[in-house]
Protein backbone atom coordinates (compact mmCIF):
# COMPACT_ATOMS: atom_id res chain seq x y z
CA UNK A 1 0.00 0.00 0.00
CA UNK A 2 1.17 3.51 -0.78
CA UNK A 3 0.18 6.58 1.21
CA UNK A 4 -0.28 9.77 -0.79
CA UNK A 5 -1.46 13.16 0.31
CA UNK A 6 -5.06 12.51 -0.74
CA UNK A 7 -5.38 8.98 0.59
CA UNK A 8 -4.01 5.45 0.69
CA UNK A 9 -3.78 3.42 -2.51
CA UNK A 10 -3.16 -0.32 -2.70
CA UNK A 11 -4.22 -3.51 -4.49
CA UNK A 12 -6.68 -1.82 -6.77
CA UNK A 13 -8.55 -0.13 -3.94
CA UNK A 14 -8.21 3.37 -2.62
CA UNK A 15 -9.11 4.94 0.70
CA UNK A 16 -9.76 8.64 0.52
CA UNK A 17 -8.39 10.64 3.43
CA UNK A 18 -11.30 12.29 5.26
CA UNK A 19 -10.66 15.29 7.44
CA UNK A 20 -10.95 19.08 7.64
CA UNK A 21 -8.35 21.41 6.19
CA UNK A 22 -6.22 21.31 9.34
CA UNK A 23 -6.18 17.53 9.35
CA UNK A 24 -4.99 17.35 5.75
CA UNK A 25 -2.27 19.93 6.43
CA UNK A 26 -1.09 17.80 9.33
CA UNK A 27 -1.12 14.78 7.04
CA UNK A 28 0.97 16.54 4.37
CA UNK A 29 3.48 17.68 6.97
CA UNK A 30 3.89 14.36 8.73
CA UNK A 31 3.48 11.87 5.88
CA UNK A 32 6.55 9.97 4.76
CA UNK A 33 7.20 7.33 2.13
CA UNK A 34 9.44 4.30 2.20
CA UNK A 35 11.73 5.10 -0.73
CA UNK A 36 12.69 1.42 -1.10
CA UNK A 37 9.22 0.32 -2.18
CA UNK A 38 7.98 3.69 -3.33
CA UNK A 39 5.65 3.91 -6.31
CA UNK A 40 5.41 7.43 -7.78
CA UNK A 41 2.05 9.06 -7.46
CA UNK A 42 -0.37 8.97 -10.39
CA UNK A 43 -2.87 11.79 -10.33
CA UNK A 44 -5.52 9.59 -12.03
CA UNK A 45 -5.65 7.58 -8.80
CA UNK A 46 -6.87 10.69 -7.01
CA UNK A 47 -9.79 10.91 -9.44
CA UNK A 48 -10.63 7.25 -8.90
CA UNK A 49 -10.41 7.91 -5.18
CA UNK A 50 -12.88 10.73 -5.51
CA UNK A 51 -10.42 13.35 -4.29
CA UNK A 52 -10.88 15.53 -7.37
CA UNK A 53 -12.64 15.79 -10.74
CA UNK A 54 -9.83 16.26 -13.25
CA UNK A 55 -6.19 17.31 -13.52
CA UNK A 56 -6.86 21.03 -13.12
CA UNK A 57 -8.90 20.32 -10.01
CA UNK A 58 -6.18 17.95 -8.75
CA UNK A 59 -3.41 20.53 -9.10
CA UNK A 60 -5.41 23.34 -7.57
CA UNK A 61 -6.32 21.22 -4.54
CA UNK A 62 -2.75 20.01 -4.11
CA UNK A 63 -1.44 23.55 -4.47
CA UNK A 64 -3.86 24.88 -1.84
CA UNK A 65 -2.82 22.20 0.64
CA UNK A 66 0.90 22.72 -0.04
CA UNK A 67 0.65 26.49 0.34
CA UNK A 68 -1.22 26.12 3.63
CA UNK A 69 1.29 23.57 4.93
CA UNK A 70 4.24 25.79 3.98
CA UNK A 71 2.60 28.84 5.56
CA UNK A 72 2.21 26.94 8.78
CA UNK A 73 5.82 25.72 8.73
CA UNK A 74 7.06 29.27 8.15
CA UNK A 75 4.90 30.59 10.99
CA UNK A 76 6.23 27.91 13.33
CA UNK A 77 9.85 28.63 12.44
CA UNK A 78 9.41 32.38 12.84
CA UNK A 79 7.65 32.04 16.18
CA UNK A 80 10.63 30.33 17.72
CA UNK A 81 12.19 32.65 20.25
CA UNK A 82 15.56 32.85 18.52
CA UNK A 83 14.15 34.05 15.18
CA UNK A 84 13.62 37.60 16.36
CA UNK A 85 16.84 37.70 18.39
CA UNK A 86 18.68 36.94 15.16
CA UNK A 87 17.24 40.00 13.45
CA UNK A 88 17.79 42.15 16.56
CA UNK A 89 21.48 41.39 16.86
CA UNK A 90 22.08 41.79 13.13
CA UNK A 91 20.36 45.18 13.24
CA UNK A 92 22.52 46.13 16.20
CA UNK A 93 25.73 45.27 14.37
CA UNK A 94 24.58 47.15 11.30
CA UNK A 95 23.71 50.26 13.33
CA UNK A 96 27.29 50.13 14.67
CA UNK A 97 28.64 50.07 11.13
CA UNK A 98 26.40 52.97 10.11
CA UNK A 99 27.39 55.06 13.14
CA UNK A 100 31.09 54.52 12.40
CA UNK A 101 30.74 55.33 8.72
CA UNK A 102 28.70 58.46 9.34
CA UNK A 103 30.94 59.75 12.15
CA UNK A 104 34.06 59.30 10.03
CA UNK A 105 32.48 61.14 7.11
CA UNK A 106 31.07 63.91 9.30
CA UNK A 107 34.49 64.38 10.92
CA UNK A 108 36.10 64.78 7.49
CA UNK A 109 33.48 67.36 6.60
CA UNK A 110 34.02 69.18 9.91
CA UNK A 111 37.78 69.30 9.23
CA UNK A 112 37.14 71.12 5.97
CA UNK A 113 35.04 73.72 7.75
CA UNK A 114 37.60 74.11 10.53
CA UNK A 115 41.05 73.93 8.92
CA UNK A 116 42.80 74.51 12.24
CA UNK A 117 41.09 71.53 13.89
CA UNK A 118 42.91 68.25 14.34
CA UNK A 119 42.29 65.15 16.45
CA UNK A 120 45.99 64.55 16.99
CA UNK A 121 47.22 64.72 20.60
CA UNK A 122 43.69 64.95 21.91
CA UNK A 123 41.83 62.14 23.51
CA UNK A 124 38.48 62.95 22.00
CA UNK A 125 36.17 59.98 22.07
CA UNK A 126 33.98 59.73 18.96
CA UNK A 127 30.76 60.61 20.77
CA UNK A 128 32.29 63.78 22.23
CA UNK A 129 33.46 64.83 18.79
CA UNK A 130 29.98 64.22 17.39
CA UNK A 131 28.52 66.38 20.16
CA UNK A 132 30.98 69.19 19.35
CA UNK A 133 30.11 68.93 15.68
CA UNK A 134 26.41 69.14 16.42
CA UNK A 135 26.82 72.23 18.61
CA UNK A 136 29.27 74.08 16.38
CA UNK A 137 27.89 73.32 12.94
CA UNK A 138 25.09 74.97 11.08
CA UNK A 139 22.81 73.36 8.53
CA UNK A 140 23.07 69.79 7.31
CA UNK A 141 26.32 68.88 9.10
CA UNK A 142 24.72 69.78 12.44
CA UNK A 143 21.69 67.65 11.73
CA UNK A 144 23.86 64.73 10.52
CA UNK A 145 25.67 64.89 13.86
CA UNK A 146 22.33 65.03 15.69
CA UNK A 147 21.21 62.02 13.68
CA UNK A 148 24.32 60.09 14.71
CA UNK A 149 23.59 60.85 18.36
CA UNK A 150 20.03 59.67 17.97
CA UNK A 151 21.24 56.44 16.32
CA UNK A 152 23.62 55.94 19.22
CA UNK A 153 20.68 56.20 21.63
CA UNK A 154 18.74 53.63 19.63
CA UNK A 155 21.79 51.42 19.70
CA UNK A 156 21.98 51.57 23.51
CA UNK A 157 18.30 50.65 23.85
CA UNK A 158 18.62 47.85 21.33
CA UNK A 159 21.75 46.46 22.97
CA UNK A 160 19.87 46.18 26.28
CA UNK A 161 16.99 44.42 24.55
CA UNK A 162 19.36 42.01 22.80
CA UNK A 163 21.04 41.13 26.10
CA UNK A 164 17.74 40.60 27.83
CA UNK A 165 16.37 38.48 25.00
CA UNK A 166 19.59 36.44 24.82
CA UNK A 167 19.39 35.73 28.55
CA UNK A 168 15.90 34.43 27.98
CA UNK A 169 16.53 32.43 24.78
CA UNK A 170 19.97 31.05 25.58
CA UNK A 171 20.44 31.33 29.37
CA UNK A 172 23.45 29.02 29.68
CA UNK A 173 25.42 30.41 26.75
CA UNK A 174 24.69 33.97 27.91
CA UNK A 175 25.83 33.13 31.43
CA UNK A 176 29.20 31.99 30.07
CA UNK A 177 30.00 34.83 27.66
CA UNK A 178 27.34 37.49 28.16
CA UNK A 179 24.15 38.13 26.23
CA UNK A 180 25.59 40.26 23.43
CA UNK A 181 28.38 37.92 22.42
CA UNK A 182 26.06 34.93 22.80
CA UNK A 183 23.60 36.60 20.46
CA UNK A 184 26.34 37.27 17.92
CA UNK A 185 27.32 33.59 17.99
CA UNK A 186 23.67 32.75 17.38
CA UNK A 187 23.52 35.16 14.48
CA UNK A 188 26.61 33.70 12.82
CA UNK A 189 25.40 30.13 13.28
CA UNK A 190 21.99 31.04 11.84
CA UNK A 191 19.85 30.03 14.81
CA UNK A 192 19.89 28.18 18.11
CA UNK A 193 19.35 24.82 16.42
CA UNK A 194 22.35 25.34 14.14
CA UNK A 195 24.50 26.67 16.98
CA UNK A 196 23.66 23.65 19.11
CA UNK A 197 24.73 21.36 16.26
CA UNK A 198 28.13 23.00 15.79
CA UNK A 199 31.22 21.29 17.17
CA UNK A 200 33.23 23.26 19.72
CA UNK A 201 36.03 23.77 17.20
CA UNK A 202 33.64 25.55 14.86
CA UNK A 203 32.23 27.74 17.66
CA UNK A 204 35.79 28.71 18.58
CA UNK A 205 36.47 30.21 15.14
CA UNK A 206 32.94 31.38 14.32
CA UNK A 207 33.34 34.85 12.82
CA UNK A 208 36.95 34.29 11.74
CA UNK A 209 36.00 32.94 8.35
CA UNK A 210 38.65 34.72 6.29
CA UNK A 211 41.46 33.60 8.57
CA UNK A 212 40.08 30.07 8.76
CA UNK A 213 39.87 29.58 5.00
CA UNK A 214 43.23 31.26 4.51
CA UNK A 215 44.56 28.64 6.92
CA UNK A 216 42.87 25.77 5.11
CA UNK A 217 44.09 26.91 1.71
CA UNK A 218 47.57 28.16 2.50
CA UNK A 219 50.05 27.60 5.26
CA UNK A 220 48.97 30.56 7.38
CA UNK A 221 48.42 29.78 11.06
CA UNK A 222 44.89 28.82 12.07
CA UNK A 223 42.77 31.41 13.90
CA UNK A 224 42.59 30.89 17.67
CA UNK A 225 39.32 32.71 18.15
CA UNK A 226 36.50 34.41 16.29
CA UNK A 227 33.62 36.19 17.93
CA UNK A 228 34.45 34.74 21.33
CA UNK A 229 37.48 37.04 21.37
CA UNK A 230 35.01 39.78 22.34
CA UNK A 231 34.53 38.07 25.67
CA UNK A 232 36.75 39.53 28.39
CA UNK A 233 38.18 36.21 29.57
CA UNK A 234 39.57 35.64 26.07
CA UNK A 235 40.90 39.09 25.23
CA UNK A 236 42.16 39.73 28.76
CA UNK A 237 43.94 36.41 28.96
CA UNK A 238 47.75 36.46 28.70
CA UNK A 239 48.82 36.01 25.10
CA UNK A 240 50.35 32.59 25.57
CA UNK A 241 47.19 31.03 27.02
CA UNK A 242 44.66 32.96 24.99
CA UNK A 243 44.25 30.14 22.50
CA UNK A 244 43.84 27.64 25.30
CA UNK A 245 41.18 29.76 27.02
CA UNK A 246 39.38 30.15 23.71
CA UNK A 247 39.40 26.39 23.16
CA UNK A 248 38.14 25.56 26.65
CA UNK A 249 35.51 28.29 26.48
CA UNK A 250 34.32 27.05 23.08
CA UNK A 251 34.04 23.54 24.44
CA UNK A 252 31.83 24.71 27.28
CA UNK A 253 29.81 26.90 24.89
CA UNK A 254 29.05 23.90 22.71
CA UNK A 255 27.59 22.13 25.74
CA UNK A 256 25.78 25.29 26.87
CA UNK A 257 24.18 25.77 23.45
CA UNK A 258 22.86 22.21 23.53
CA UNK A 259 21.49 22.73 27.03
CA UNK A 260 19.81 25.90 25.79
CA UNK A 261 18.28 24.20 22.79
CA UNK A 262 17.10 21.02 24.45
CA UNK A 263 16.38 22.20 28.01
CA UNK A 264 15.98 25.97 27.66
CA UNK A 265 16.58 26.64 31.37
CA UNK A 266 19.64 27.50 33.43
CA UNK A 267 21.71 24.51 34.51
CA UNK A 268 23.58 25.83 37.59
CA UNK A 269 25.60 22.68 38.26
CA UNK A 270 27.01 22.80 34.72
CA UNK A 271 27.63 26.55 34.82
CA UNK A 272 29.54 26.47 38.10
CA UNK A 273 31.86 23.73 36.92
CA UNK A 274 32.32 25.38 33.51
CA UNK A 275 33.11 28.84 34.93
CA UNK A 276 35.60 27.29 37.31
CA UNK A 277 37.30 25.37 34.50
CA UNK A 278 37.52 28.42 32.22
CA UNK A 279 38.89 30.64 34.97
CA UNK A 280 41.42 27.97 35.91
CA UNK A 281 42.67 27.78 32.32
CA UNK A 282 43.25 31.53 32.24
CA UNK A 283 45.14 31.44 35.55
CA UNK A 284 47.22 28.33 35.11
CA UNK A 285 50.14 29.73 33.21
CA UNK A 286 50.46 32.94 35.18
CA UNK A 287 53.87 33.11 36.85
Amino acid sequence: MQSYWFGDVGDGCCTLFIGDSNAIIDRVRSISANMGSFVPLEWEKAVLCGACRDRIDYLSRLQAVCIAAAERSIREQYSRKDAELLQMVRTLDEIDTVINLLSERAAEWYLVRHPAFSRKYRRTPAHVLVKTMREKSKGALGSVAAEIERLAETRTTLAKEVSARANDVMPNTSALIGGLVAARLLSHAGGLLFLSRLPASAIQVLGARTALFAHLKTRSPCPKHGIIFQHRRVHNAPRDVRGKVARVLAGKLAIAARLDYFRGVVAPEFLDAAQERIDATGRRSEP
Binding site: Q2, S3, Y4, W5, V28, I31, S32, A33, N34, M35, F38, P40, L41, E42, W43, I56, L59, S60, L62, Q63, C66, I67, A69, A70, E71, S73, I74, Q77, Y78, F213, L216, K217
Partner: protein, 202 residues
Protein backbone atom coordinates in the same frame (compact mmCIF):
# COMPACT_ATOMS: atom_id res chain seq x y z
CA UNK B 1 12.55 27.65 -26.22
CA UNK B 2 11.42 31.09 -27.28
CA UNK B 3 14.11 33.51 -28.43
CA UNK B 4 13.60 37.08 -29.56
CA UNK B 5 16.83 37.79 -31.42
CA UNK B 6 19.42 36.59 -28.91
CA UNK B 7 17.23 37.23 -25.87
CA UNK B 8 15.66 34.24 -24.14
CA UNK B 9 12.10 34.91 -23.01
CA UNK B 10 9.11 33.08 -21.57
CA UNK B 11 5.43 33.73 -22.07
CA UNK B 12 3.55 34.50 -18.89
CA UNK B 13 2.29 37.08 -16.44
CA UNK B 14 5.13 39.53 -15.82
CA UNK B 15 6.14 41.60 -12.81
CA UNK B 16 7.33 38.64 -10.72
CA UNK B 17 10.68 40.26 -9.88
CA UNK B 18 10.52 43.43 -11.98
CA UNK B 19 11.89 41.53 -14.96
CA UNK B 20 12.22 43.34 -18.27
CA UNK B 21 9.46 42.72 -20.80
CA UNK B 22 10.10 42.35 -24.51
CA UNK B 23 7.22 42.22 -26.96
CA UNK B 24 4.85 41.09 -24.20
CA UNK B 25 7.19 38.29 -23.10
CA UNK B 26 9.30 38.04 -19.95
CA UNK B 27 13.03 38.36 -20.46
CA UNK B 28 14.88 35.47 -18.83
CA UNK B 29 18.21 36.92 -17.71
CA UNK B 30 21.21 34.52 -17.90
CA UNK B 31 23.05 36.55 -15.28
CA UNK B 32 20.31 35.90 -12.74
CA UNK B 33 19.19 32.43 -13.66
CA UNK B 34 21.56 29.52 -14.11
CA UNK B 35 19.08 27.68 -16.30
CA UNK B 36 18.91 30.64 -18.66
CA UNK B 37 22.73 30.72 -18.63
CA UNK B 38 22.73 27.06 -19.69
CA UNK B 39 20.62 27.93 -22.76
CA UNK B 40 23.11 30.67 -23.61
CA UNK B 41 26.33 28.69 -23.24
CA UNK B 42 25.13 25.21 -24.15
CA UNK B 43 22.21 23.37 -25.66
CA UNK B 44 20.16 22.78 -22.55
CA UNK B 45 16.92 20.88 -22.94
CA UNK B 46 13.74 21.93 -24.66
CA UNK B 47 10.98 22.71 -22.16
CA UNK B 48 7.63 21.56 -23.57
CA UNK B 49 4.03 22.27 -22.51
CA UNK B 50 3.35 18.72 -21.32
CA UNK B 51 6.37 18.47 -19.05
CA UNK B 52 6.20 17.76 -15.35
CA UNK B 53 9.16 19.17 -13.45
CA UNK B 54 10.60 18.56 -10.00
CA UNK B 55 12.62 21.61 -9.04
CA UNK B 56 14.96 21.22 -6.05
CA UNK B 57 16.25 24.42 -4.48
CA UNK B 58 13.50 26.69 -5.74
CA UNK B 59 14.70 29.66 -3.66
CA UNK B 60 12.69 32.83 -4.34
CA UNK B 61 10.92 31.36 -7.33
CA UNK B 62 12.39 33.54 -10.06
CA UNK B 63 13.68 30.72 -12.26
CA UNK B 64 10.70 28.64 -11.17
CA UNK B 65 8.35 31.25 -12.60
CA UNK B 66 10.07 31.07 -16.01
CA UNK B 67 10.05 27.27 -16.06
CA UNK B 68 6.37 27.33 -15.09
CA UNK B 69 5.68 29.53 -18.14
CA UNK B 70 6.86 26.70 -20.38
CA UNK B 71 5.68 23.49 -18.72
CA UNK B 72 2.60 21.74 -17.30
CA UNK B 73 3.53 21.72 -13.62
CA UNK B 74 6.52 22.53 -11.41
CA UNK B 75 6.94 20.89 -8.02
CA UNK B 76 9.15 23.43 -6.28
CA UNK B 77 11.05 22.21 -3.22
CA UNK B 78 12.64 24.73 -0.90
CA UNK B 79 13.82 24.38 2.68
CA UNK B 80 14.48 27.86 4.07
CA UNK B 81 11.56 29.94 5.37
CA UNK B 82 12.68 33.33 4.06
CA UNK B 83 12.84 32.47 0.32
CA UNK B 84 9.76 30.27 0.82
CA UNK B 85 7.73 33.41 1.59
CA UNK B 86 8.54 34.70 -1.89
CA UNK B 87 8.00 31.33 -3.52
CA UNK B 88 4.53 31.16 -1.96
CA UNK B 89 3.69 34.54 -3.49
CA UNK B 90 4.74 33.20 -6.91
CA UNK B 91 2.60 30.08 -6.36
CA UNK B 92 -0.47 32.14 -5.49
CA UNK B 93 -0.21 33.80 -8.92
CA UNK B 94 0.69 30.69 -10.93
CA UNK B 95 -1.65 27.71 -10.93
CA UNK B 96 1.05 25.25 -11.99
CA UNK B 97 3.60 25.88 -9.23
CA UNK B 98 3.28 23.51 -6.26
CA UNK B 99 5.45 24.84 -3.39
CA UNK B 100 6.84 22.18 -1.08
CA UNK B 101 8.66 23.16 2.07
CA UNK B 102 11.02 20.28 2.59
CA UNK B 103 14.65 19.23 2.55
CA UNK B 104 15.72 18.01 -0.91
CA UNK B 105 18.04 15.52 0.79
CA UNK B 106 15.01 13.78 2.30
CA UNK B 107 12.77 12.90 -0.66
CA UNK B 108 10.71 10.50 1.45
CA UNK B 109 9.06 13.51 3.08
CA UNK B 110 7.62 14.90 -0.14
CA UNK B 111 7.31 11.68 -2.16
CA UNK B 112 3.58 11.41 -1.31
CA UNK B 113 3.02 14.80 -3.00
CA UNK B 114 5.02 14.49 -6.21
CA UNK B 115 4.23 12.70 -9.47
CA UNK B 116 6.73 10.96 -11.72
CA UNK B 117 8.43 13.77 -13.62
CA UNK B 118 10.02 14.31 -17.03
CA UNK B 119 12.63 16.75 -15.75
CA UNK B 120 14.48 16.87 -12.47
CA UNK B 121 16.20 20.22 -11.99
CA UNK B 122 18.51 20.73 -9.06
CA UNK B 123 20.18 23.89 -7.81
CA UNK B 124 21.01 23.42 -4.16
CA UNK B 125 23.88 24.83 -2.11
CA UNK B 126 24.81 21.60 -0.38
CA UNK B 127 28.02 19.57 -0.18
CA UNK B 128 26.27 16.34 -1.20
CA UNK B 129 24.84 17.54 -4.50
CA UNK B 130 25.41 14.34 -6.49
CA UNK B 131 23.85 12.08 -3.87
CA UNK B 132 20.84 14.40 -3.46
CA UNK B 133 20.29 14.25 -7.22
CA UNK B 134 20.60 10.46 -7.29
CA UNK B 135 18.17 10.03 -4.40
CA UNK B 136 15.62 12.17 -6.24
CA UNK B 137 16.03 10.20 -9.46
CA UNK B 138 13.30 7.86 -8.11
CA UNK B 139 10.84 10.51 -9.28
CA UNK B 140 12.30 10.60 -12.78
CA UNK B 141 10.51 8.71 -15.56
CA UNK B 142 12.56 6.35 -17.71
CA UNK B 143 14.16 8.52 -20.38
CA UNK B 144 13.62 11.54 -18.13
CA UNK B 145 16.22 14.24 -17.82
CA UNK B 146 18.27 15.43 -14.87
CA UNK B 147 19.69 18.95 -15.00
CA UNK B 148 22.17 19.40 -12.18
CA UNK B 149 23.45 22.90 -11.56
CA UNK B 150 26.67 22.09 -9.76
CA UNK B 151 27.78 24.72 -7.27
CA UNK B 152 31.37 23.58 -6.92
CA UNK B 153 32.12 25.97 -4.08
CA UNK B 154 29.34 24.46 -1.98
CA UNK B 155 30.82 20.99 -2.36
CA UNK B 156 34.25 21.91 -1.04
CA UNK B 157 35.87 25.35 -1.19
CA UNK B 158 39.31 23.86 -0.81
CA UNK B 159 39.07 21.70 -3.92
CA UNK B 160 39.58 22.98 -7.41
CA UNK B 161 36.23 23.47 -9.16
CA UNK B 162 37.39 21.26 -12.05
CA UNK B 163 38.12 18.44 -9.63
CA UNK B 164 34.68 18.69 -8.00
CA UNK B 165 33.14 18.76 -11.47
CA UNK B 166 34.92 15.54 -12.49
CA UNK B 167 34.05 13.78 -9.21
CA UNK B 168 30.39 14.65 -9.66
CA UNK B 169 30.37 13.45 -13.27
CA UNK B 170 31.94 10.17 -12.17
CA UNK B 171 29.35 9.74 -9.41
CA UNK B 172 26.47 10.30 -11.84
CA UNK B 173 27.91 7.99 -14.51
CA UNK B 174 28.65 5.19 -12.06
CA UNK B 175 25.05 5.43 -10.85
CA UNK B 176 23.97 4.56 -14.40
CA UNK B 177 22.97 7.95 -15.76
CA UNK B 178 23.96 8.95 -19.28
CA UNK B 179 25.59 12.36 -19.44
CA UNK B 180 24.34 14.35 -22.42
CA UNK B 181 26.06 17.63 -21.83
CA UNK B 182 28.31 19.19 -19.24
CA UNK B 183 29.33 22.82 -19.45
CA UNK B 184 30.66 25.59 -17.26
CA UNK B 185 28.28 28.52 -16.91
CA UNK B 186 30.98 31.18 -17.30
CA UNK B 187 30.83 34.09 -18.01
CA UNK B 188 27.37 34.27 -16.41
CA UNK B 189 28.08 32.33 -13.20
CA UNK B 190 31.54 31.55 -11.87
CA UNK B 191 32.52 28.14 -10.51
CA UNK B 192 29.11 26.79 -11.52
CA UNK B 193 28.65 23.97 -14.00
CA UNK B 194 25.59 22.42 -15.58
CA UNK B 195 25.32 18.68 -16.09
CA UNK B 196 22.50 17.29 -18.22
CA UNK B 197 21.83 13.55 -17.92
CA UNK B 198 19.17 11.10 -19.02
CA UNK B 199 17.85 8.18 -17.04
CA UNK B 200 18.21 5.08 -19.22
CA UNK B 201 15.79 2.18 -19.39
CA UNK B 202 16.67 -0.44 -16.83
Amino acid sequence: MIWIGDVLVSQGEGGVYNERMLGGARVWDPHRSKLSALYHVGRGIELTPGMRVLYLGAANGTTVSHVADYVDVVYAVEFAPRPMQDLLEVSRRRKNVIPIMADAARPEQYAPLVEAVDLLYQDVAQPEQASIALRNCSFLKTGGILVLMLKTRSVDVRKEPAEVFQDTLDALISAGLIVQESVWLAPYHHDHAAIVCTKPEV
